[in-house]
């Protein structure tokens, strides 16, 4: 029992060298953010990096609620959108009055906007956690999204409100007209927000949030009010969501009611959950993947949103820890040196699983393109959506892949159990 430290204990008993490792991660992240546009310098990849950066902040802010405090929100885009709108209005005001406020400060304004709204509605919303919170967040989300179409003077109706980021005071000679300057602005805020949110998880408040997530009743016994803790977490989440919204407003130079809508709230939930809510870096992975898929799939298939749904359902059913959860599951095996015994069974399982996935893709594309009669190009092989051979191929791949995959995954589970037993004997697994 003594050789099974919980993660928090392990963190407390760090050896001196690990402090370097800890700061090294952030340093590496900073260097990567600086170097990335130098390696991939095309306009398209720069735009993608900007979107991914914003998505990372947004997904991390969402995880303050879902992962750390256990609050499932269906209306997180409200704070994001309101932050964006406030940023746009402040940018326009600054430009028209010639106030000496440079652009890099504007995301902070967005953050304050998000936080202010959270301050306003949060007290009522966070009274209870669980289903009631989920429902009221959905209700508030719909309320704000619908109201934004009524209050036209503030939200600009359907077309939204535009701004010009170059009209603000230049800073260090930067006008923020070129996309590369906006990229570095976003990169700066990504790093600052990520560090701030990570630091938040290490504070007593962050720890109490985890306790509220796990057992609110006990938290009450040790003298904290779970309601207040949830309220604070909600405000911090709103703040960082607002920063993301402000950055979006700068990036696109527009804020419209779509920012506040249910689609945006759903996407951030997908990002955080697919990445994995149990670990800090999970939502980062999820945001990168979801944004990348969003940008990449739209050009390949017309039903890319369906793939999101399918991936999401798959993660919920088979890997509720998300990508980060899957990765971290392997850590004790790597440290015990038994990962090698599992890999062969993985490789065997990969083949039928891949066949099953291809079958699903072929089925979806066949249905999607049936009426159009387009050709499906899957791994370089052309399939005609109206041909019975395509249907047969899809059926064989789905059914056959599923049946064989089930057997091979059972093998994986057995190999895994053996490897885990060894790891447990060596003291790397609780």
């Amino acid at each position: 029992m003594t050789n099974a430290p919980t993660p928090s204990l392990a963190a407390a008993k760090q050896e001196p060298g690990s402090a370097l490792g800890f700061y090294g991660v952030w340093l590496l992240a900073a260097i990567a953010l600086i170097v990335l546009p130098l390696i991939f310098s095309s306009g398209g990849s720069l735009t993608s990096f900007c979107l991914i950066g914003i998505a990372i902040i947004f997904a991390l802010s969402y995880n303050i609620l879902l992962g750390q405090t256990g609050l499932l929100s269906f209306g997180h885009a409200v704070q994001y959108g309101l932050g964006g709108f406030l940023a746009v209005h402040v940018m326009n005001a600054v430009a028209s009055h010639n106030w000496p406020i440079p652009l890099p400060v504007i995301p902070l304004v967005g953050g304050i906007g998000g936080m202010a709204f959270a301050l306003l509605v949060g007290w009522v919303m966070t009274k209870r956690a669980g289903t009631v919170f989920a429902m009221i967040s959905l209700g508030i989300g719909e309320l704000v999204a619908s109201s934004s179409l009524i209050l036209r003077s503030v939200f600009g109706g359907e077309s939204g409100i535009t701004t010009d980021r170059t009209s603000l005071m230049p800073m260090f000679g930067w006008t923020f007209g070129p996309q590369i300057q906006v990229y570095y602005l976003i990169a700066f805020w990504v790093l600052v927000s990520a560090i701030a949110m990570y630091a938040l998880t290490r504070t007593p408040l962050g720890r109490i949030c985890n306790a509220v997530r796990d057992n609110p009743e006990r938290v009450e016994f040790i003298g904290y009010d779970p309601h207040v803790v949830r309220y604070l977490a909600y405000m911090f989440a709103g703040f960082f969501a607002g920063i993301a919204g402000g950055l979006t407003a700068i990036n696109f130079e527009i804020a419209n009611s779509a920012y506040l809508g249910a689609t945006q709230s759903g996407l951030v939930l997908f990002s955080a959950f697919i990445g994995g809510t149990a670990y800090f870096f999970g939502p980062i992975l999820g945001a990168i993947l979801v944004t990348y898929l969003q940008l990449g799939l739209t050009s390949v298939t017309s039903v890319w949103q369906l793939y999101f749904g399918v991936i999401f359902i798959g993660i919920v059913m088979f890997a509720p820890g998300g990508i980060a959860g899957i990765l971290m599951k392997h850590r004790p095996l790597i440290r015990a040196g038994t990962l090698g015994t599992v890999i062969p069974s993985y490789l065997v399982a990969a083949i039928p699983t891949l066949a099953f996935a291809l079958g699903i893709i072929l089925t979806i594309e066949t249905v999607a393109r049936f009426s159009g009669g387009d050709v499906i190009n899957l791994l370089g092989i052309p399939f005609v959506a109206t041909a019975p051979t395509t249907w047969a191929a899809a059926a064989v791949l789905v059914v056959g892949g599923f049946l064989v995959a089930r057997i091979t995954w059972r093998r994986v589970a057995e190999a895994w159990d053996r490897a885990a037993t060894v790891a447990r004997d060596r003291g790397y697994l609780a």
Partner: protein
Amino acid sequence: MAELIVISTLNGVLFGMLLFLLSSGLTVIFSMMGVLNFAHASFYMLGAFFGYQLTRWIGFWPALVLAPLLVGAVGMAVERYGLRNTHKHGHVAELLLTFGLAFAIEEIVSMIWGKSPVDYRVPAVLDFPAFTIFSTNYPAYKIFMLVVSVVIFIALLVTLKRTRVGLIVQAALTHPSMVGHLGHNVGRVFMLVFGVGSALAGLAGVIAGPSLVTQSDMAALLGPILFVVIVFGGLGSLPGAFIASLLIGLIQTFAVALNGSLASVFGPLDPSLGPSPLTDIWNVTIAQIAPILPYLLLVLVLIFRPMGLLGTRES
């Protein structure tokens, strides 16, 4: 004015009964599994589209029976192969599974039937005015919808309160393990209840489809209102869901019919003030704010009576 009141009351009660067809299933499923089924409105949409497709193939009346059965089968499959396996991961995972399903079903429907409304028509037998009231013809199909929902409502009530099956279901909601010890297959009871709930949603879709718009976003439009209904009525309370359904149905219908605004009551604002949030609020008509009324109601209820109208538990 009297005309407006009579017609809106009829329409409101009709919409309310439709809402109840959906919210009754949702409420029972919630009491059973402790999870709100996000995909419930999607089952309603599936019902409408299945109804449309089957009507084209085999006619309206067989579709009226078959489409809900199909939707019920889909629902049972979701419970058996989806939710039951996800149960071990906790309530959040279950809720998210239904959320993902709702998302996927919407995409599948728009993939197959397209994003624009389909031509789902009222059957010719029922396509005549039932009666004329103050110069307005009231369509017979709406009366038919009302009759169907009332019949289902009574059947549901009798089944739950007066039959052995209803007794077992009620017992399984509160004491699942005791019911299991008495030799009933609780898993199958849950699956059947889920199936019946989905089938009711599907039925609502089949009968509402021709009257309202059958489109791939109908689930996304109705879903949030449904949640308002059951939170407003009190989570897990059937009578609460009934009252809330009627209330929200009436409020929505009356709001859409009314055209008044603050400007029409108190006169227009001084135009020199220019556009501002105040002028927006001043000029907006009641019909325009109808979509947000349910959510306003939800927020008010959660502030003043967090357990809902007839709810007993806090969460």
